[in-house]
Each structure stands twice: as structure tokens, then as C-alpha cells.
Amino acid sequence: MKRAGFNLLWLPIVLLAPQLVIIGVFFYWPALYAIRSSFYLEDPFGFGSTFVGAGNYIDLFSSAQYLKVAVFTVGFTGLVTFLSLSIALVLAVKADKIIRGTRVYRTLLMWVYAVAPPVAGFIGVMIFYQGNGPMTELLALFGYEFRLGVNYYDTAAAMVAVATWNHIPVNFIFFLSGLQSIPQSVKEAAMIDNRSGAGRFWDITFPLLAPTAFFLLIINITYALFDTFGMIDALVKGEPGNNPMTLVYKVYVDGFRGNDLGGSSAQSVILMVLVLVLTVFQFRVMDRRIHYT
């Protein structure tokens, strides 16, 4: 709040009202509703609900299928985060280093940011199409029969590839602007002290980029958890069947296809707790982060 603020009462209330009403109706009410229904068992035909306490949670944690989805989600998130961060970092370091053409490369490497995940997924379907997709044919040359939507691991690999592709641009933009904000004097001093490019990178550049990298780590985890829904839906063509899926996709499948309101809400609550833990972790680390510049 500014020291020299205005002293009216009605105006700020009028200004805040629309925002508060919208988040009250479309955020707090649904969130509380989710917590409440996670303790109830809904009749699939709409004849009321029964209180089951922690029953829905116990069912989830003892379900082999839920655990399988959780394990896949962790692996998928880890792989996508690692791959897209490291590829973007290499590209950003090179784009920052060259003297001419940085802007051109920046444009070429960032526009995919605007490609919607489900459309990326659809292009992925065409590229990995069973039998005649370009990647399928390329892999067939090496004697591997890639079967999207049939083989669990093939589908998972396609998901990781498309998600990584779709998420390199954000990481690239942040890494590049992080690199460009390192003062020239620091770079020159490093140049004098250490002639080896790799040594300079690990001793100087990387620590300076660490806050950016950590922030991106959180962004990537949230992306892989939540924003990949459309991409996965495209790749499995709306038929989860035996295919891999993430926790968010399962919330949707159980809630809207399976009509299991209680189970789906319990999954929502578990995800809420997960996000809260991530955020608290983020703030704790961000508070302690060291600024060199």
C-alpha cells in the first residue's frame, strides 16, 4: 500500500467487488465443494449421497491403478522438466553467445509457445501415426515398430516428446533474458580469470542463472501436471483404455466419464495439497535465494 493513498471507503470496495465476487463464486465455492464431496459417496444415478469419511481417500491409495497413474505422472513430469530445461538452456547459451542473429533465433525458437497443447498433440498423432507417420517410419528403419495408442511405453514416449517440444520455448525465453541480464563487467571479469568456456559456464553463468532455473523448475512441474491435459487427450484420442495418463487426466476421466464425484473430488483435493506444498516450497527457497547482481 502506498503511504499517500486515498482515504475513501466506497470506491475501493466498488473496485474490488467484481474480482471478489468472481473468485468467490468460481474459486472458493468450487474448492470448498470439492473438499466436502471428497468425503461423500455420490449415487451415480443422482439419488443423494452418503457420508463415507476418508473412504474415498483410502480407496484411492489402495488402488493399484491410481498408484500406477501417480508413478507415471512423476516420471513424465521429471522427464519433461529435465529435457525441456536442458535443451532450452543449451539453446539460450548459444543464442546469447553469438554476435549476429540472436533476434532471428529468438523468434524461431519461441513461436511454438503459442501452439495450443491439444493442437501440438494432434500434430504429434500425425507424426507418430501408426504405420505411416514420419517418426514411425524412421524408427522402422532401425527395426522398431512404434505403435502409438497400443503400446503403453510408445504412447508415453510420444507424450514426453510432444510435451518437451511444446515447453522448450518458455524455458528458452526465460533463460535467454536471464543470460542477457548478466552484466557485461561480470562476463569480462570471468573471461580474464578463466579461459575455458565450460569452466566459466559452471562457475559463473550457471550460479547466476540459478534463481531463473529454480523458478522455471516450478513452472515446468505445474505445466507437466496441469497444462498437458489437451495434449494427452489428443494423443490417446479420448480413449484412455490401457494408455498412460496423468493425475489430472484421471480426475477428468473418473469425474466426467465414470461419474464418480466423490473419488474425483478426493483426487482434486490431493492435487490441491500437492500444489500448495510446491508453492510453499517455492516461497521458502525463493526467500533464501542469493542475488549476485
Partner: protein
Amino acid sequence: MTAAADPVLVATSRVRRKLSWQTIADHAILIAGSLLMILPVFAAFMTIGASDVDISRHGMQFTDGSHLAENFSKALFIQGGFTGAITGSTMLLNSFILGIGFAIGKIVFGMMAAYAIVYFRLRFATFAFWVIFTTLLLPLEVRILPTYEVVHGMGLINTYTGLIVPLVASATATFFFRQFFLSIPEELVEAARIDGAGPVKFFIDILVPLSRTMIAAIFIIMFVYGWNQYLWPTLITTDEAMFTLVRGIKQIYQSIDGGSDIPEFGRALALAFIAILPPVLVVVIFQSWFVKGLVESDK
């Protein structure tokens, strides 16, 4: 002594030569990266020119352009879907309504709330701040089913209000504007008060013009975000006349495996092209604003 034998000159030319190899390697990596980004989309869009029969027999095509116009006109003007009520141009219009409506909603409500929080002495300002900023923690995807139930209960299924307003219920824009307002010097509001400007005049005549670049940057980010929404539109629009492009493409390519006819690959790919083009153009054309907004907003 000739120049070639001069040890100093030899040394510098060797350094220069080594440097240039290094530069070539750097460019090679960047070109490989750019190709990785471009080729999948390029391959998909070259295929639009081929006929459905060829695509389904031989996969993606790169040289056949004979069906280009046909596939685009099918995508834009031929009615499709289950009820036959939807054309590509209707979906395009709906996508624009969602993208622009969402961006404007975010900016208007966000600026108003941020102004109230930053510039007024309010007892419950801190409370309002926390109530609003908690929403940053939980994305819509997490609370999707209960939100659907609430919107369904209000009878907002298949309306633009039901499509846009629940997406606006998060504090991202408020947060950006709060950060920005806090960075504006204190003296500005003092000077405005001395000159007799009231809070409304100060907001409209000073703060809004000052925020122009910020508004533009946030508009771009939010437009792309709104345009690319998928899960929420999938749930909330069951009437095909309400479909957006990103949501509607699924309807066409899902018949790829379902129907006994030859699937309409060309049409689906043409629609994908139309769905990708506007957000990509916005991001590329307004690149510097977009990058600035994106990077600064998240600090």
C-alpha cells in the same frame, strides 16, 4: 620477413580460425534447435495440400499441393460435426470471443482490484490481498469438476459467460498490476493530489496511460492463454455452435479412427493451421512486449 612467417600473425590467425569454427558450431546447434521447432508444424502444414486418400495411405505428404484450396474451404465453410451446425469460421469467431473476452476481463478486473489494494488506505486491504492471491495457487484443472457443477447449477452451460468468467477467476493479472503499481514513484500520487485530482481522475488520466505497455504485454499473454484453452471449453460447450477452434478440431480428427469412410485429414490439418496462426502471429509480431511482460510478470 613475410607475413606468413610472423609468429604473432600466425597466432592471431589461428585464434581467429578456431573462433570461427566455434561460431559455426554454435550456429549449427541453434539451427538444429530451430528446425526441431519448425519441422513438425511445417510437415503437418505441407500435408494440407494432399488428398485424404493419399494421406491415409502414405502418411504426411510434402510435394502435393493440389487439394490446398479445397481443404481450406472445407475447413472454413463446410458444416461438420455430429449435428452439422458448425463451420470453421464460426469456431474462429468463438476463439476470438474467448481470447479477447478473457484478456479484457482479466485486465479490467485485475487493474481495478490492484488499484484498490495499492492506492487506498483500507483496513481489510491485506485480507483482500490474501483472498485474491490464494487463487494463484490452484489452477482451474485441479478444481474442474466442482467448478463445472457450480456453473451447471447456474445454468451457464453453452454461454459465453460460462465459458469466459470462470477462467477469469484467478489473480494473475491483479498480481502483475500490483507489482507494476508498486514500482511507480510515490511522488506521483502526491503531486496529483496537490493538483486536486481525485482517485477516479488519477486512475483514468495518469495510471492507465502509464500502464499502456504493461496492458499490451498482459493482453498478449492472456489472449494466447484464452485462445489455447481446451479442458474448460470441452466441458462447458456441448452445443457445437459454441465450439472454439482448439476445442473443435478434436471432433474432426477423432473420426480418423472411428468412421469407415476415409478420415478427413486435410480438413483437420487446415483447421489446425487456422487455430495456430492468430496466437503465433500475435506472439511473433509483438515479441518484445510479450517477452518483457512474460519475464517481468513472474518476478
